[in-house]
Amino acid sequence: MTVFITALVAGLAVGSVYGLIGISYSIVYSSSGIFNVAQGNLLAVGILVAYYALDEWKIPQVLALLLIVAVVVALSLAEELLAVRPIVARGSGGITWFISTLGFGLVVSTIAENIYGSKAVMAIPSAFGESPIRIGGVAIAPKFVASLGLLMIIGFGLEAFYRRSQIGTVMRAVAEDRDVAALRGIRVVRIGQLAFVMAGVITGLAAFVIAPIVSSDISLGLLYGLKGFIALAVGGFGSMRGAALGGLLLGVGEQMLDTYWSSNYEIVAGMGLILLVLAIRPQGLFNTLRLREV
């Protein structure tokens, strides 16, 4: 039972990060109509910054958090400017943006890996300490709770933001119909930038909470990006809750395979889950809103 709960908690923690990446995709996709394949690579950069800030320079956690978010947001904006906006502006059909963001992600990841060099993977201290929380005889490290907590806060916060705030309504209008929104005087380019900033903040925060869990393993960028996509696809496009639940489902599934079969087959969970969803409910399990006819 303890083994099961430990696996469950770890699954929820890692799954939260998949969910957060899924949410980041969703924000950018709804405002720009593009899918930022580099999102996972940006997470890896965040982990790299976390390593330097906390292990090498040993700066306070709060400053480290700000630094991580700042770096990831800056890179997001650079990506929007260099690899996304020219393509969206050209308005050519197809998914050329897929290629450019994939390329940008590869550049970012390669640079990060070179900066890190061939050092072994190092533990990164958590802002929430190491003293475990005890729930019914099971000890849970606070870093796991932090990850799930962040997903909850971001998920519900964003839903409220999209529904209540004026800028959130504007963003929904752009998601609904970019051209009409532009005719209505909404500056769609600014909204696109804002979406990249928001996605950057979320990915930065995700890097901050995941770093103590996965240590300084910065090679997992693209893989996390793809798992974030699976989270979104399983949950359903256009649904924050869907992405969050899809991520949790994937994370828990992976940890269960890891615990009860072999860690080598952990990766099969994502493939199995996505194939299952595609077979029975291609629009996603929790899809409520259709952003676009596929």
Binding site: P86, I87, I95, G103, L106, I111, N264
Partner: protein, 634 residues
């Protein structure tokens, strides 16, 4: 007309030139190195170039981002390696290529079946994930040699050194030829139609899902051959086989080769493959930063040179006056070609030849060539059809009957449900209630490509054309529909395939001529002005030889001359026995040519009768059409 169609012989210059370039590029190592270790490296690159050719078939021709091509390559590589490890007698390049191709095709099918149910980048991401999963799972199986892979150095293959390398060049040429044959076949034209628009493909009777799947499978087949080539030359297959660490990075590298070479071109994969894979091999001193180079190239090319090197080379060649492509296709962009060259086909020329051609030969052609249309006199009936979107009742209990050989006008203000009704008839939307029938056949509940095959053709409010293809190539898939030629017959140029291609070309040309579009046949559709595009859509529908033709606002944006041509064509089509449903805002135009008119208002049918009856019904005319019809018609 015939001459125009068949002087595409000059098209031969291009493949020949392409083959020459490819061969030259591949012969480089003959001149530089003969060291066996280096040659083995080149053999590996040759195999990966074949993967890029496969990726190009799936992605460049069929528009499917099959980044899982690495997974396909891995499956085929492992399958052939496992086979020769257990049956060394089968270590024959021919046998291995066949087995690899089969394994690859199966892998492509398995990846494609679920992923293609959803669209575009979904396939890209899911299959990219597969590219990571397959090699890493294979690396866990002891049967497949675990992380160390299957080592086959005990094999002694009969082809070695230069003879092996030469064979590989031959395979690359064959695979390029295959890609070319697919591109210029009924399959390739279906791919291009689908890649341009799924709705369009469905409108032409093409099943989107099956065509996408075929694209994945054909690409995977070629990538499977590459798996066998890799095993044969490297005598090894493992999780990182293929270079660049395997998995997603390898997929990215191959994508870079394709994008930089030129997606959808025949020489592109080879040129890009030689450039990028060669560069990768030579970046050893720069190894850790290689990703920056390739990632950067991907960004730069997708932003600045999305067509790739091959198209740029072609553009440069055109500018230098080296013309090895048909004149209409030579100029790909630039404002100078936005308008058709005045000398060839000015509006005057069209105006002079167009209506005359339509009036003269039109009805005879339709009447003569479409016995099915004449024999089958069933009407297209819409009975009590309703459809709501959310709380809006877009179409409410509408009845409509289009009889063969007549023009039925459908008018009404914006948002009155006309186009929704058309989409319901064509199967793009499902009816909530009511029936749509054509004789005994029920149309409601059928997917759009099936409705199209039953003989219902349509145009789109915004013209949908394959912009990168010529006008003729745009119309040919419509003409091919009736010929029922199989894919292999067309791809491998079997007699029936050749005959069908010639016949569909002639039919397409005849359809174009009826709208006075003959002179545009070899021009790129993307270069045509809006009005001409609409007329091409009408020609395409004519080429389908439909029983019923639904036209959605065809006159919008047409010049008076073009509009006259359109009217003449519609009248001729109806005279040939086709039932025409004409949605149009230009009420005088409708009243002038329609046999019967239906007026819709807020989803309901408000009026049905002859144009004369409508003119007499001042209430409908005045209140709902907002015009004085008597005055408008004069």
């Amino acid at each position: 007309m015939m001459a125009r169609l068949f002087d595409s012989r000059r098209g031969w210059a291009r493949p020949v030139g392409g083959v020459a370039i490819i061969a030259a590029a591949l012969l480089i190592p003959y001149l530089r190195h003969t060291h066996s270790f280096t040659l083995t490296l080149y053999d590996g690159i040759a195999a990966m170039i074949v993967v890029v050719i496969g990726l190009n078939i799936a992605m460049g021709l069929a528009g499917q981002f099959l980044l899982g091509i690495v997974a396909v390559f891995a499956v085929a590589g492992y399958a052939t390696a496992w086979m020769v490890a257990h049956h060394p007698g089968m270590a024959n390049i021919f046998v291995m290529c066949i087995v690899g191709a089969a394994a690859g095709a199966v892998a492509g099918l398995v990846i494609g079946l679920p992923a293609l149910r959803v669209g575009e980048f979904y396939l890209a991401l899911v299959s990219l994930f597969a590219s990571i999963v397959v090699p890493s799972v294979a690396g866990e199986w002891s049967t497949l040699g675990g992380t160390g892979g299957l080592i086959l150095i005990t094999l002694n293959p009969s082809l070695k050194g230069m003879s092996l390398y030469g064979t590989f060049i031959g395979i690359i040429l064959l695979c390029s030829l295959f890609a070319w044959a697919v591109k210029r076949s009924t399959v390739g034209r279906r791919f291009a139609t689908l890649a341009a628009s799924e709705q369009l493909a469905a409108g032409l009777g093409i099943s989107g899902y099956r065509t996408k799947l075929l694209g994945s499978v054909l690409g995977s087949l070629v990538a499977g051959v590459a798996g066998a080539m890799y095993v044969y030359s490297q005598l090894y297959f493992g999780p990182t086989s293929g270079g660049f660490g395997g998995g997603a990075n390898l997929a990215t590298l191959l994508l870079a080769a394709l994008v930089i070479g030129g997606t959808g071109t025949i020489a592109g994969p080879v040129i890009g493959g030689v450039l990028i894979l060669g560069l990768n091999q030579n970046l050893n001193g720069f190894k850790d930063w290689t990703g920056v180079v390739f990632g950067g190239l991907l960004v730069i090319f997708s932003v600045f040179v999305p067509q790739g090197v091959t198209s740029e080379l072609q553009r440069v060649a055109d500018r230098l006056g080296i013309s090895w492509s048909p004149p209409g296709r030579a100029r790909r962009s630039g404002s100078s070609v936005a308008a058709p060259p005045a000398d060839a086909v000015g509006p005057a020329a069209v105006g002079a030849s167009g209506p005359a051609a339509v009036g003269g030969s039109g009805p005879a052609v339709v009447g003569g060539s479409g016995p099915a249309v004449v024999a089958e006199r069933a009407a297209l009936e819409v009975v009590g059809v309703s459809r709501a979107f959310g709380g809006v009742q877009a179409v409410d209990q509408v009845d409509l009957e289009v009889r063969p050989g007549t023009i039925h006008g459908l008018i009404g203000s914006n948002g009155s449900g006309k186009t929704t009704l058309l989409n319901l008839i064509c199967g793009y939307y499902r009816v909530d209630s009511g029936q749509i029938r054509m004789g005994d056949a029920r149309l409601d509940g059928r997917p759009p490509h099936v409705v199209s095959r039953l003989g219902v053709a349509r145009t789109f409010q915004t013209p949908k054309l394959v912009l990168g293809a010529t006008v003729l190539e745009n119309v040919m898939p419509a003409a091919e529909r009736e010929l029922s030629v199989s894919g292999p017959e067309s791809v491998f140029r079997l007699p029936r395939g050749v005959r069908a291609a010639r016949e569909s070309g002639q039919r397409a040309m005849a359809a174009l001529d009826r709208l006075g579009l003959g002179p545009f046949a070899h021009q790129q559709a993307g270069e045509l002005p809006h009005g001409t595009r609409r007329l091409v859509e009408v020609a395409r529908a004519i080429a389908m030889e439909p029983r019923f033709f639904l036209v959605d606002e065809p006159a919008a944006g047409l010049s008076p001359t073009e509009s006259d041509q359109l009217v003449a064509a519609l009248v001729a089509i109806a005279a040939g026995g086709v039932g025409v449903l004409l949605i149009e805002h230009n009420v005088p135009l409708v009243l002038a040519i329609a046999d019967r008119v239906t007026v819709m208002h807020q989803g309901k049918r408000l009026f049905e009768g002859t144009p004369e009856e409508l003119k007499a019904d001042q209430q409908v005319a005045g209140a709902f059409l907002g015009i004085d019809i008597a005055e408008a018609v004069g």
